[in-house]
Amino acid sequence: MNEELFAEYQEKFTCKFPKAVELFPELLGYAVSKLSPEGVEAYLDGANFLCKIGQGVEPVLVYMEVMPDIASHFGKGTNKMIADYSYLMARSPNKKALIPFLSTLGHVCRRIDRIEDLEFYLQIIDEYVEKTQTVIHGHHSLYESPGMVALLESMPQLISKLCLNGIRNFIDYGARNYLNAPDEQIAYFKLESHDAKSIITRERKGTTFKDVERHMDMLKECMWDCDLPFQTFATAFDQLRKPVPYLDDELIAIPDVYDEENGVSGIDRYRATLAHMMAHKTWSSQLMADNFAPHMQLFISMFEDCRVEHLAIQRYPGLKKLFLSLHPYPEKGACDDKKMSCLRYRATRMSRALLDENFDPENPLLEEFRERFHKVMAEKGEGSTTQDMAELGIDFYVKTRKQSSDSLPGVFFDDTEVSYRDDNRYIWFYYEEYDESDEIMPNEYENEEKIVENEGGLPPRHYDEWDYISEGYRPDWTTVYERLHPSGDAGKIDRLMAKHDVLAKRLKKMIEMLKPQNKKRIRFQEEGEELDLDIALRSVIDFKSGQAPDPRINYSHTTDSRNIAVMLLVDTSQSLNERNEQTGQTLLELSEEALAITAWTVEQLGDKFAIAGFCSDTRHEVRYQHIKGYSEGYTDEVKARIAAMEASYSTRMGAAMRHAAHYLEGQQAEKKLMLVLTDGEPADIDAKDPQTLIQDTHKAVEELQSKGIYSYCITVDPKADEYVADVFGNQYTVIDHVDKLPEQLPQVFMKLTH
């Protein structure tokens, strides 16, 4: 750029902020190198304009820094568009967001290609503002949108994981669900809340582990005969260290999403990762880490990875193609060992060479170790040990060591990461006696959710919840904790039964009628057990008189049996403690009686039957209490649990039903029935709109229906007519006289299953 031109531009740059003037030459130089003369003009116009909008020098500088790249990426009109948009933003209550907007724009633009997409991006931000700005008495925009700054600051992360439509959904979800909770909204847009993670996982491109979980479970079981559980960790959040799959004695940690890589689909990447870790589990033993220098450990790990993969490929030859397509291919001479540490580069090249016979065949060093490795593998096969690989690893390290550069801080990383390999913590152990392995390698990928005390219970399960306003599921919205119901005095139930002696006798009669009639005769069979004499005689007569006889002259028997599985889900929310004024009994006591009698009835009938209680304290803690399982009989233990029932908290019915359905689904039965015993509508203290949980429960009923489970509600709420039909359709009974509940419940059950 000659001085004349520079002077011309300088004249055009009318902004007089000292800082801007100072940095102008440098910024201009870059802009001129990137943009056409016209573009530079537009660029300066934009900068001049921003200078005057009254936000100080900072927006001008950020603008001048990022725009050359952006404008050259999209072409004409970009400068003006961004300057105008910045102006609008500076005039709005969200002016604080201007700097984050401009400074993250570069990241966003790197991921999108067309100027229409950029417009769309601006539109998405506008939509957010529109949804969240506070309107008071018709005066617009008095208050800023709370999550705006956080959102824009998270934008680089979002755009790296989601497409623009995904971002739009993400923003929409946050704006809608946290409209009145600014703190939560900010946490959401800062990507700190669990919900943000769930939504990103849902909106992400790629294969989620959830989609392939069952498949992976079965692969693990059938190909590797391993019963360790999987645990996923989130990959959507750039942490200081990129999380890597790992294997330890208790679990297999695996990323929640895999994108396509090198043309290998997400599911195949999961398969490769699983195969690699399972190979370690099958063939690796442990080495004491303290015996080896850290650099040696790197090479030993690499050789050990290759050894187990070699064995895995022997067992499953198809794995070779999969591993090869995922293994990086470090080009010859890519790393300059005078300037950088090439440790990883050397290790990955060796590893590629061991896997791929055609890789760099003329390299004497690779050739030597390739031969040694294959010699060990040919001689010992599955009998080879991690120790053998330790020897190879040390030799390799000693032979290739570069005193001058190996410990340089700049490490060459390109093409050295083998994405399907784990971090190999499985093969190392440490001497330090007092350092629990947990402390050295904590389970760092665990969710930082609210931890709920759940002693003796099962690990929490998450369920989606239906949001009727957006007509979509909120992913992993509720957390269900299942535990065994505490026990009380079983004798109490026996005394209750004695009180209902008359009822029991009457029920018994009904049961007798319901019980499978062992034999039923089917007449008019061509082939059957016995000759049906009446018909046979008629046929003989027909035959003798020259007419065509009816050949259906036999009859046979069939047994008529019941094959149903029943789940009785009992609401144990606080309202059950209310006392009935006439009888003085609480609803809880009546429920206990009803349960006891129903359990007894069903036991007599011999159907598969389970009972569970539920209540909830916000969506973070839905309690599901196991009272009777399908395989348990109606024993004293079960009675003791019924006797100890307590009422507390609220009624988040949908989550409990989904959880119960997950057990009922596993039962083999022709008919599956879920009975829900409740005293009120689905509600919880964190759901302000009463329709939310009613609609969600309705959705749960539909889900169950599609799984072949028939849900039926028995409610003692006198006001139930207002809502129960919305939830259960016509599958409900309202019991008006609460004190009749113990009598009615078993009868309803028998009527349903008749």
Binding site: H215, M218, C222, M223, R271, K321, F543
Partner: protein, 266 residues
């Protein structure tokens, strides 16, 4: 009545898993009723056939099902132009003319049906045809063999104790890998390497038993797969057709096994 049509002329191929042949011979020598247990397609019926051939006795096989009745076993009156006529059932025929009567998958039949065999299986060795008013003393060569699969035993489908306790039993399982590979080479006509891979697939699927599969892949299905490969079908295709599709309708299991197969055949 020509009982010799039930004789087996050519030796059915059978690879012994252990000493079951001697055990059976001893039982036949004493004319003890025998029960053969094991998962489906592991070679129970083949074994019984092989023994009948070895002993040179005719064998009458009845495949049991839910609808089978006592008269299907014993015999019944049929109508013809001149009125009614008695026809012997397979059990009566075997007892009368001295054959091995083999009741396959006996638990499929209803429990009360099987009571008719009681008198034949203890010291009496006789069968009474009450409808016909005849008492048959069993032929000295007669023996009763039953088979069933304890795998899909449920409360509904089990033998009565009084039936069970009339038999001595041989327990079968899928042959070990080496024997199984040998069977596949012999029966399916594949080379050793392919046979071993098929066996590996079989083991893989047996690991899934209880995780969505009721039964593993039987030796019989593996023989089918081997036969298809022998006919020129590609191994992966043959395995999908003969080993995976028949045993499951579950998409996840199918995908898992398909993947295992392509990994094994590479």
């Amino acid at each position: 009545m020509d009982i010799s049509q039930y004789k087996i002329d050519n030796e059915p191929f059978y690879d012994a898993q252990s000493n079951e042949i001697e055990l059976y011979e001893a039982a036949y020598d004493a004319r003890l009723p025998v029960m053969v247990k094991g998962p489906t397609g592991c070679g129970k019926s083949r074994f019984v056939e092989h023994m009948a051939w070895k002993l040179g006795k005719p064998i009458i096989t009845v495949s049991c099902n839910e609808d089978i009745t006592a008269s299907d076993l014993v015999g019944r009156y049929l109508l013809d132009a001149n009125g009614t006529r008695w026809v012997d059932g397979p059990l009566t025929m075997a007892a009368r003319y001295g054959a091995i009567c083999y009741l396959d998958e006996i638990v499929e039949a209803r429990q009360d049906t099987m009571v008719v065999i009681h008198a034949l299986t203890d010291h009496r060795r006789e069968l009474s045809l009450d409808k016909k008013g005849e008492l048959i003393k069993a032929h000295p060569d007669f023996q009763l063999v039953i088979s069933y699969n304890p795998g899909y035993q449920s409360l509904m489908k089990d033998l009565k104790q009084s039936t069970k306790q009339r038999f001595c039993a041989l327990d079968f399982d899928y042959a070990d890998a080496e024997t199984e590979a040998h069977i596949l080479q012999k029966e399916g006509g594949v080379d050793e390497a392919t046979a071993k891979k098929l066996v590996q697939i079989g083991e893989t699927a047996r690991n899934l038993k209880g995780h969505g599969l009721d039964e593993g892949i039987s030796t019989r299905l593996m023989v089918y797969a081997a036969t298809l490969i022998n006919k020129g079908i590609s191994p992966v295709e043959a395995c999908k057709m003969a080993l995976v599709r028949p045993i499951t309708d579950d998409a996840d299991i199918r995908e898992t096994l398909d993947n295992a197969i392509s990994m094994i055949f590479g």
